[in-house]
Structures are given as C-alpha cells and as structure tokens.
C-alpha cells in the first residue's frame, strides 16, 4: 500500500536533511576571490594615508620654500645684468654683417666701432655695461636665439655662484671663460674665438681713456632705454627656453566619497543613520598649460561615479506605501516603503496592511555619475627630476545618471532615482602632487586630491556635506 502525499510535503521531507559535500575546488575558488578583494582593500587605505601625509607636508614645505625664495629672488636680476656683458660681445663680431638693429646703436655694427665700444666697456664702470650688452644681445638674438638661450641659461646658473662685485676686466674674462665652458660645443666654437679676440681688445682698450669720454655721452642718453630693453630680452629668452608649454595627461583615479556632516539628502529621518562611502574609479584627461616655470593652469574632463550607503534602514512592501518626496520611484518599486524604523513610520499602520509583511533590514545605496570639468592651478614647489606640486582649483560637475537601491543580506532591489540632485554643481579642489620626470616629454604623476562639493542637492540636504578623496595618477606628455 502506497500512501498519497501532498507533493509539497514529499519534497519538503526528502530535502529536509539533504546535505552533500561540495567539490574541494570550490573552496579554492572562494579563497582566490577573497585574496583578490583583500589586495584591493589594502591598497586604498595606503593612498588615503599618503594623501593625508602629503597634505601636511605640502603646507610645511610651502612655508619653508616661500621663505627661502624671497631671500634669493632679489639678487638674481641685477647679477644677470652684470655678467651678460662679455658673452654677448663674443657673439657680436660674428653678427657684424647683420644690419637689423632697431635701436640707434648703429656704431656697433662696425668692427671698428665694436672695438671702440669694447674700449668703453672695458674701462667703464658696471653701469655702462648694460648698454653694450643689449645691443650685442639684440643682434645675437635675432640670428642665433638658441645660442643666446644657452648663454642666458648658463648665465643664470652662474649668477648664484658669482657675486655682484664684477668690476674689473679680469673678472669679466673669467666669467666669459666660465660661461663659455658651460655652453654646448656648437655654441662654444662660435663664442670662444670671438672672445679670445675680445679679451685682447679688452686689454688694449684698458689703456685708451680718451675714447671713453666721447662714447660715454651717447651711452648716458640711451641707458634707460637699454635697461628697459634688457628686461624685454630676458622675457623673450625665458619664453624661448620654455617652448614646451603644453602637456596632456590621461588620468585614472580611485575615488572615495563620503560626507563631512551627518544628515541625509533623502529624508531627515535618515539624518542620524551612519553612512558608508564607496570607492569608485574615475578616468579622464587633463590638459596643462605652463604659464611660467613654476606655475601652470590646467583643465580637462573626467568621468566619475560617486556612491555612499545609508546603513540600518528598514524596508518592506506595503499597499499604502508612503513615498519619499526626494525619490522618483521605478515602476517595480512603487510598493516599497523605506524608513529608518518601519514600526514607527506613520504609513505602515497595523490595521491597513496585512500582518504578514516581512520587514527587511539593510542599507540604502545612493549613486551618482558625473562628467567633471576641472579648472585648476598647479604650483611647482620642488622642481627637480622628482617634483612636488601644490594644486588648487574648482570643478564643474554635470550629472549624468543617478540611482537608489536597497540592499539586504545580499539581495539588491531597485528603488528609483533621486529627484533632488542638481544637474550642475561645483566642487572646490585642493591637492598635492608628486611627479617623476621619466624622459624629456614624459612624466609620471601621482596626485592625491580632496574635493569638497557645493550645492549638490537642490534643496536642503539636511546637513549632508559630500566630499571626495581621490588619488589621480597618470602620465603627462609635453609638447
């Protein structure tokens, strides 16, 4: 006799004590996945610590450097003036054939006059020298910018070594020789021979005082002009030296998002709930323009996703589900009721809904996707092969997508979108970057940055103040 059984009961009873061991390979796979996740998690806290330490260092170093710099900067310009003297002269004779000389220092184009001028210079005091220098440089720069650049560059190096007190010929020639030895071989040849001639001229001229007087008069008139022009020349040279001003950098960054205050943009009842931030990847491209050797401005475009969770929420399905005004519900989520505490939520009256409602406990996740356009200024505090930069600026953020989901014990339910998010908002950014110059054109950057968001939400966010911490890494190509 066989007994008939409710099919449900049949299965239920048979499976009650059903247990079977999985393959050993399953645990190995689980282990492998856990290891993968562990590494990811370990990396991130290091970045945050680095970011924090870097920020503190940045402040200290900036203070130190600023003090150090202000002491040095004054000395440089005057020294440049003085030591420019001879090298220019060296170049000059070469360019004797050049007629383009806007300045009225015509005499300089003549070899004889050149010598005469030399005489003047050699016996002149420091003050007179600038005039000579300008004219020589002018000619040189028109025909041989790179040569001058070389000279200029090496001169500035010399500046810090030599002191202001270059008065006599002997010292000038010393400087000449020193500078010449620093130039590249191409320029060296050009400069050396003329200089040799010049040094002879110097020595000769030292004895000819008469000529001094006549030329001196002319010199006085155009002294002011000369100084002004010299400044101009300096600028030109700097410009030419820093020809490669643009650079482009693709960037990738892990970004951590959270709030400074408590409060919740979804509803005030969640204000006191703990919030956990998410880490997402941001990717994009930056474009830099070097305004000066130390300062550059940059912009770019990034794609970034932010997310955070509101923990310890309760949700259930209910016919009379009270909808939160800040959310645009998805069609499948119309009957979901979310609250900080369902029992006390006014909508869920015991009499209105059946008692069988399961209340799920979990977290509410809110995610936003943006396209970000930063506009930042980068100040190079340490300028060597390994550089340190201070970065600050703002970003405009354009909202592209957002969603809110509920999660409980691994089950994720879609809720909808937030309707109180501004499609356009701003963040203020600050950060400290470290970069390594790998080749002349290629540079590796690591920039931890802190970005504080403003007006993310269109209404009162109840004290929710979002920020993001990211470590922006990438390569820069200079061109």
């Amino acid at each position: 006799m066989s007994s008939k059984k409710n099919i449900d009961r049949l299965f239920q009873e048979r499976f009650k004590h059903f247990e079977i061991d999985p393959d050993p390979s399953v645990w190995e796979s689980i282990e492998a996945r856990l290891d993968g996740k562990k590494k990811k998690r370990r990396v991130l806290p290091i970045w945050w610590k680095l970011g924090g330490v870097a920020a503190i260092l940045a402040i200290l170093v900036t203070i130190g450097l600023v003090n150090y710099k202000s002491a040095e900067s004054i000395a440089i310009p005057t020294e440049v003036v003085n030591t420019e003297n001879s090298p220019q002269k060296g170049v000059q004779p070469e360019e004797n054939t050049v007629k383009e000389d806007p300045e009225s220092n015509q005499p300089l184009l003549n070899p004889e006059n050149v010598e005469g001028q030399d005489a003047v210079v050699s016996s002149d005091k420091e003050k007179r020298m600038p005039k000579k220098i300008i004219s020589g440089r002018e000619i040189a720069s028109k025909n041989n910018p790179s040569a001058e650049k070389q000279v200029q560059v090496t001169e500035t190096e010399r500046v810090s070594v030599k002191n202001n007190a270059i008065t006599g010929n002997a010292q000038n020639t010393e400087v000449n020789k020193a500078i010449v030895s620093n130039n590249t071989s191409a320029e060296k040849e050009k400069l050396q021979d003329p200089l040799a001639i010049k040094t002879d001229a110097f020595n000769k001229a030292a004895t000819e005082d008469e000529r001094v007087a006549t030329v001196e008069d002319d010199g006085k008139k155009s002294l002011l002009e000369v100084v002004a022009q010299q400044e101009e020349e300096k600028e030109k040279l700097l410009e030419e030296a820093g020809k490669k001003r643009w650079s482009i950098s693709p960037t990738l960054a892990p970004v951590y998002y959270n709030t400074l205050g408590n409060g919740s943009p979804i509803h005030s009842q969640f204000a006191e709930n703990s919030k956990s931030g998410e880490v997402n990847m941001s990717y994009g491209v930056h474009v830099d323009y070097a305004v000066s050797k130390k300062l550059s401005i940059r912009s770019g475009i990034n794609r970034v996703n932010y997310g955070y969770s509101t923990n310890n929420v309760e949700f259930t399905s209910s016919i009379a589900a009270q909808s939160l005004p800040t959310i645009k519900y998805a069609p499948s989520a119309r009957s979901i009721e979310v609250a900080d505490n369902i029992a006390s939520a006014s909508a869920v009256q015991a009499s209105e809904t059946t008692l069988e409602n399961t209340v799920f406990e979990g977290a509410m996740n809110q995610r936003f996707g943006y396209v970000e356009v930063p506009l930042e200024v980068k100040y190079r505090m340490l300028d060597k092969k390994l550089g340190v930069n201070l970065i600050g600026g703002v970003s405009s953020l354009l909202l592209t997508n957002n969603n809110i989901t509920l999660e409980s014990s691994g089950l994720v339910t879609e809720m909808g979108e937030a309707n109180n998010l501004n499609s356009f908002n701003i963040s203020t950014n600050i950060g400290l970057g470290v970069d390594y110059q790998m080749t002349d054109k290629l540079r590796l950057n690591v920039e931890p940055m802190f970005k504080y968001q403003l007006n993310t939400f269109s209404n009162d966010a109840g004290g929710f103040r979002p920020y993001s911490l990211g470590v922006y890494t990438g390569f820069s190509f200079r061109f």
Binding site: K4, I7, F15, I20, E356
Partner: protein, 180 residues
Amino acid sequence: MGLEQLIEQCKKNNRAGQEQLYRLFGSKLYSICLKYARSKVEAEDCLQDAFVTIFEKINQFDNKGSFEGWAKRVTINTVLQKYRKDGFFNLVVDDIEDEHEVYIEDDEIPLEYLLAIIQELPDRYRLTFNLYAIDGYSHKEIAQMLEIAEGSSKSNLARARSILKKRIEDDYLKKKVNSL
C-alpha cells in the same frame, strides 16, 4: 571553538576562521544551491558567490538570531540575484490557476531523482516551488524577492506542482507497468 568566536574571526578576515566556517556550513548551503540552480556547475558557482558575500557582509550579522538562518538567507538571495539578472521573472502573469493541493504516490522515490527533476524545471517555477514548498516562504515574500506579482507566485507554484507530478507519474508509472 564556538561558533561565536568563529564569526568574530571571520569579521576580522581571518583566513583560518573563514575556512572553518566554510567546512561547517558548506554542505548545507551547497544543498540549497543545488535545489535552486539549474545544474551542479551552476550550483558550485552560486556557492562561491554565496560565501564571498557571506564573508563580505558578515559584519552586518549582529549575533541576533541564528547564523545558519542568516547564511541560508544570504545564499538564497545570492541565487535569486543571479537568476533575476536573466530577467526570467518579468514574464506576463499566467492565468491564475486554483491553488489546490496536489497528491502523489510516495513510492520511495530516490532523492537524486527528485533533485534532477527540480533542476529541470524552468527557472521561475523552480524558484517559486523551492521558496514556497521546501523553504516555507509566503507568496507575499516570494513576490518581493522575485520582484513579481503575488498572483504570479501562486500560478508559478501551481504550474510547478503539476509539472513535477506529471514527471514522477510518467517515470514511475512506466516503471511499474514495465515491471508487471
């Protein structure tokens, strides 16, 4: 060591603790996966996913209530999540059949066979049947977990029962007839 200490270890991501927990609950949870999945291979994948989730979310388990119950719940949710992505539940509701009870001859049908025919059911019937008949969830709960209407849950169940009954009767009636 006691289960509580084991859980504490897992909360700290201690590998030895995690392995021990796996040894303790692995078989039970694997059996659940086998019922809910379409095949042994898929069941293994589900088990992996379930444990990874368990270890990730173990900090949310606050030692109130049974860990086994929580772990089972996580496992079931993991499986549902996996099949939900395939969109099998968003089909139009069948006409709601009467939810009458179905009876079958209990003839010492082997467990392996029962498992096999369950796995062969279409996703939505299999999951509904498992949740209702074997794991004791209500239609309301099932509707929420599968994101379907309650009516769909009821009709899924009815369909599942009739398919299973037919399979068993066909296979075992045939046997009986042949042995005569």
